[in-house]
């Protein structure tokens, strides 16, 4: 019974206000970080405004571990732009450069073929499914945009 009394005493001696203040400060820090992240998502129009380069396929331009700021823009994708996209079923986004563009007259949809700078072959060999563009790469600001699916699989079989 003695230890219950001691525990109660120690709880009463805690300064509730101080503890609550600290909890609120912590909560504020966490929510500010979340606000900044969501705000970035809104401003750039992209699902993941900041990505880390995961593979060496764009060396020597982008090395593994480089941070990219992404940004979706309204202009159509053009050859030479760097885009970031997800392949069906794989979560890891791919950062590659567009080397072929076919823009349809009627719909304005754009078919693109991509290739990593450091890869020998283009992506139709390794990326076999329809890809959806997550966001367009913007290493601090270069933008390209895509709102349509981009895969040429059907037309580019060899």
């Amino acid at each position: 019974m003695g230890w219950i009394g001691e525990t109660l005493d120690s709880i009463k001696s805690l300064q509730i206000r101080q503890v609550l203040t600290q909890a609120i400060s912590l909560g504020m820090i966490v929510t500010s970080a979340l606000i900044i992240w969501k705000g970035l998502m809104c401003v750039t129009g992209s699902e993941s405004p900041v990505v880390v380069v995961l593979s060496g396929s764009m060396e020597p331009g982008f090395k593994r571990g480089d941070i990219l700021f992404l940004h979706m823009s309204k202009d159509p994708i053009r050859a030479g732009e760097i885009v970031v996209f997800n392949v069906d079923g794989r979560e890891i986004p791919i950062v590659h450069r567009v080397i072929k563009v076919h823009e349809h007259q009627d719909t304005g949809e754009v078919d693109v073929l991509t290739k990593g700078d450091n890869n020998f072959g283009d992506d139709r060999l390794s990326v076999c499914a329809r890809s959806a563009l997550v966001a367009s790469a913007s290493y601090h600001g270069e933008s390209c945009r895509v709102l349509t699916l981009c895969w040429l699989g059907d037309n580019y079989h060899d």
Binding site: P60, G61, R78, A79, G80, E81, I82, R97, I99, K100, V101, H102, E103, H104, Q105, G108, D111, D117, D122, Y139, H140, G141, E142, L152, N155, Y156, H157, D158
Partner: protein, 167 residues
């Protein structure tokens, strides 16, 4: 208020802020540079021009590409990615851009070049619209900085024609 932890925190925050500011200034300094690049392309020969098994036209050509991109380099330039694209219009597509050759220029010394090459990537159409097609050869370059904003530009060279018949 003067514990090691507080001081280390203040120092680190200040350092990161200054670093970010320096990166931004480095990026802005790139705007001071006014580039004056030149380029020229000659198509020497159409090696072959066929319709592939999938019904898409394909061309192989040999070209001379010469350019002087030295004025694009600043102290903040990591590399320049340059590529040559054939651009043309078809009834189905308002714009087709097919990259024929690309290269990475790592430094200013390599930025003045002349190469004789066949197309590195296949020049294929979505369909078979290339016979007699008039197309532009555009040399594009993307300047990748050590830190900051990438920018890109191009030189359009017009007046190229593909043969009217397959060969």
């Amino acid at each position: 208020m003067h514990s090691f932890g507080y001081r280390a925190n203040a120092l680190l925050t200040f350092a990161v802020t200054i670093l970010a500011l320096m990166c931004a200034m480095a990026s802005l300094s790139d705007n001071l540079n006014t580039p004056s690049p030149t380029a020229q392309v000659q198509v020497l020969n159409i090696n072959w021009f066929q319709k592939s098994t999938h019904g898409n036209d394909e061309v192989s050509m040999t070209m001379n590409i010469s350019a002087n991109l030295q004025s694009l380099f600043t102290w903040n330039t990591k590399q320049v990615f340059v590529f040559l694209a054939a651009e043309y219009e078809t009834p189905k597509n308002s714009l087709n851009q097919v990259s024929l050759w690309d290269g990475i220029i790592p430094s200013k010394e390599h930025a003045k070049f002349w190469i004789h090459t066949t197309n590195k990537y296949r020049f294929t159409d979505q369909g078979s619209n290339l016979r007699g097609k008039e197309y532009n050869l555009t040399l594009h370059w993307h300047v990748m900085p050590k830190t900051g904003k990438m920018f890109a530009d191009k030189i359009v060279m017009t007046g190229f024609h593909l043969p009217a018949e397959y060969r």
